[in-house]
């Protein structure tokens, strides 16, 4: 980026003019997929020459690497190393679904932080991680995946996994989590599909809505209503990606929106995409069952 002077606004419209960026290059993607259990069969015992990251969306994946056993539950990711024997001792459970990606590491040392990525961790944001996998697989299937895209998508997955472990250890270190904030969050988690509001939560907890709002905002930096909408849209994202049979109205109702235009507006505000565009963006995923 040592160009002497960038193009001025007067040169707008000349699309052959480019700016070159140098990128660090520490991860190389091999391939990825979505595994859906055939209800029978067993994971082969094998040694592969690349790293493998597994992210379980549903069910529990029982596997081992060398002498250690792993039980990877829904929402958790597992990292397997090249050159080590891994496999499974039990058949695939019928409800198992997981994303997998194979990748290699380069020796290149960029300016990035040196981190330790744990073997097994619970994803902090399963929706975003699924969407990154989905994007990788969809581009791979349509042959539009380029090396820059694939390597940065895998790097992004690894970053997500790292952040998950960091947040996990941070929350374990600070026992001073405010009980009221946790109570609000638990209430949202259990009732977001119903017509709830800050007032109904306050009524449920026997406190004034203003007080609740103030405490929540102080600790989370956003309003209760925002948290509620975020939670609802998260579910909508998962439903739009995974359940092609439901129409958008049904999804709106399932996420706690009583009218589809409210849902549409909220979805657009949070994601910048209409529910329909979001669905078509994530609906092309190749599945493997062996």
């Amino acid at each position: 980026m040592q160009a002497a002077k960038g193009p001025g606004l007067d040169r707008v419209g000349r699309r052959h003019v480019t700016i070159d960026f140098a990128l660090s290059n520490s991860v190389d993607a091999v391939n990825a997929g979505l595994f859906v259990s055939p209800g029978q069969g067993i994971h082969p015992t094998r040694v592969i020459d690349s790293y493998e990251l597994i992210f379980v969306m549903q069910g529990c994946f029982e596997c081992f690497e060398d002498g250690s056993d792993f039980h990877v539950r829904s929402g958790q990711s597992l990292l397997l190393f090249p050159g080590h024997v891994h496999g499974s001792r039990v058949p695939y459970p019928p409800d198992l679904r997981f994303y997998w990606v194979h990748f290699r590491l380069n020796e290149a040392r960029g300016p990035g932080p040196d981190v330790a990525i744990p073997r097994l961790v619970k994803a902090r944001d399963p929706e975003t991680l699924s969407e990154i996998f989905c994007r990788f697989i969809s581009d791979q299937e349509s042959a539009t995946l380029d090396p820059v895209g694939s390597s940065h998508l895998v790097a992004l997955m690894l970053c997500e996994v790292f952040e998950s472990s960091r947040e996990e250890s941070l929350s374990a270190l600070s026992p001073a989590q405010v009980p009221l904030v946790l109570a609000i969050e638990a209430h949202i988690e259990a009732n977001y599909m119903k017509p709830i509001s800050t007032c109904t939560i306050a009524g449920e907890l026997g406190l004034s809505p203003d007080y609740l709002e103030r405490v929540y905002h102080l600790h989370r930096g956003r309003s209760i209503l925002q948290a509620l909408h975020t939670r609802r849209i998260e579910t909508a994202r998962a439903l739009l990606r995974n359940d092609g049979r439901k129409n958008i109205n049904e999804i709106a109702f399932e996420c706690g929106y009583s009218c589809r235009s409210c849902f549409r507006r909220m979805f657009e505000r949070q994601t910048g995409l209409s529910p329909r565009d979001f669905r078509s963006l994530y609906s092309r995923t190749h599945i493997n069952s062996h």
């Binding site: 960038g6 140098a22 660090s24 960029g110 539009t144 790292f162 979001f278």
Partner: protein, 280 residues
């Protein structure tokens, strides 16, 4: 074997400003750039970009990438209802580094797949809004944004998910109305049947047929009613109303009057001018 994977997270770009400019009124933002880049993507509406004396107006799905070596001020003003993503960033990897990879990004282009770009920018804004955003995540997302912009601008990824032709959709609505006008049908039922939102159905239908779905249903019903008033003179008007999907005769009469410019009674008695029922 260690219990964790040690690696250097790739970090190529460092964003200093990430914002989704979206308000229903015009807003102004001024940015200072020095030895850094600015990426702008307009998702909706129009955005005015000003730098000293130069000005540019960006429209929907247009993206712009600027690099400024020396300090300068860039003014951004969104027009009514516009939505634009703005990211200022600087690069961290030297081009002399032999292990680096190069990405050439166009300076200005229309984006062929705006949803794909908007989706990555949404993730970028989402990460930025976290309590402690992760720099490597922001950096990787930003590389993906620029890569997507490059691919989308050069037209490699033109695999747009095909949406049905609006013309076709309007005919599907016509067919549904023809088959169900005698029942209590609404645009909501049609939207559910065709698996689209009511708003979308209405928009597409209105564009193609110049009337709302609701009016199209009424038109069809009144047209059928006019024919029945003539051919089935033995039937009372209330029965004809029911046969055409109106439970309430009063409502039927009101709609009839509005569209046929006469009442059902007058039409039957032949007092209305000939052919008034065929106008629709």
């Amino acid at each position: 074997m260690g219990d964790a994977l040690r690696l250097t997270l790739p970090l190529s770009l460092e964003p200093s400003f990430i914002k989704l400019l979206a308000r229903d009124s015009a807003i102004e933002t001024a940015l200072r750039l020095e030895a850094s880049c600015l990426f702008i993507f307009v998702a909706r509406g129009w955005l005015n970009v000003a730098e000293e004396t130069a000005q540019a107006r960006l429209g929907p799905n247009e993206a712009l990438l600027l690099y400024r070596h020396e300090a300068c001020a860039i003014g951004l003003r969104t027009e009514l209802g516009a939505q634009a993503y703005v990211v200022a960033f600087r690069t961290l990897v030297s081009r002399e580094d032999p292990r680096s990879r190069t990405l050439a990004v166009p300076v200005h282009a229309m984006v062929a797949n705006p949803e794909r770009l908007a989706d990555l920018l949404r993730m970028l804004v989402g990460e930025q809004e976290r309590q402690s955003p992760s720099l490597p995540i922001l950096s990787n997302l930003l590389v993906l944004v620029l890569n997507e912009f490059d691919a989308s601008a050069t037209g490699q990824k033109s695999l747009r998910v095909k949406t049905p032709e609006p013309e076709n959709l309007a005919s599907l609505v016509d067919a549904y109305i023809a088959a169900h006008y005698s029942e209590a049908v609404s645009s909501v039922d049609i939207a559910r049947y065709l698996n689209y939102s009511v708003e979308y159905i209405n928009r597409v239908f209105h564009r193609k047929r110049g009337m709302s779905v609701r009016d199209a249903i009424h038109c069809r019903r009144i047209k059928e009613a006019s024919a029945l008033l003539d051919s089935r003179r033995d039937l009372p008007i209330s029965d004809i109303a029911t046969m055409c999907g109106y439970k309430d005769v009063g409502y039927f009469r009101r709609i009839f009057k509005r569209l046929a410019r006469t009442t059902p009674c007058k039409l039957r008695k032949g007092l209305a001018s000939t052919g008034s029922g065929e106008d629709m």
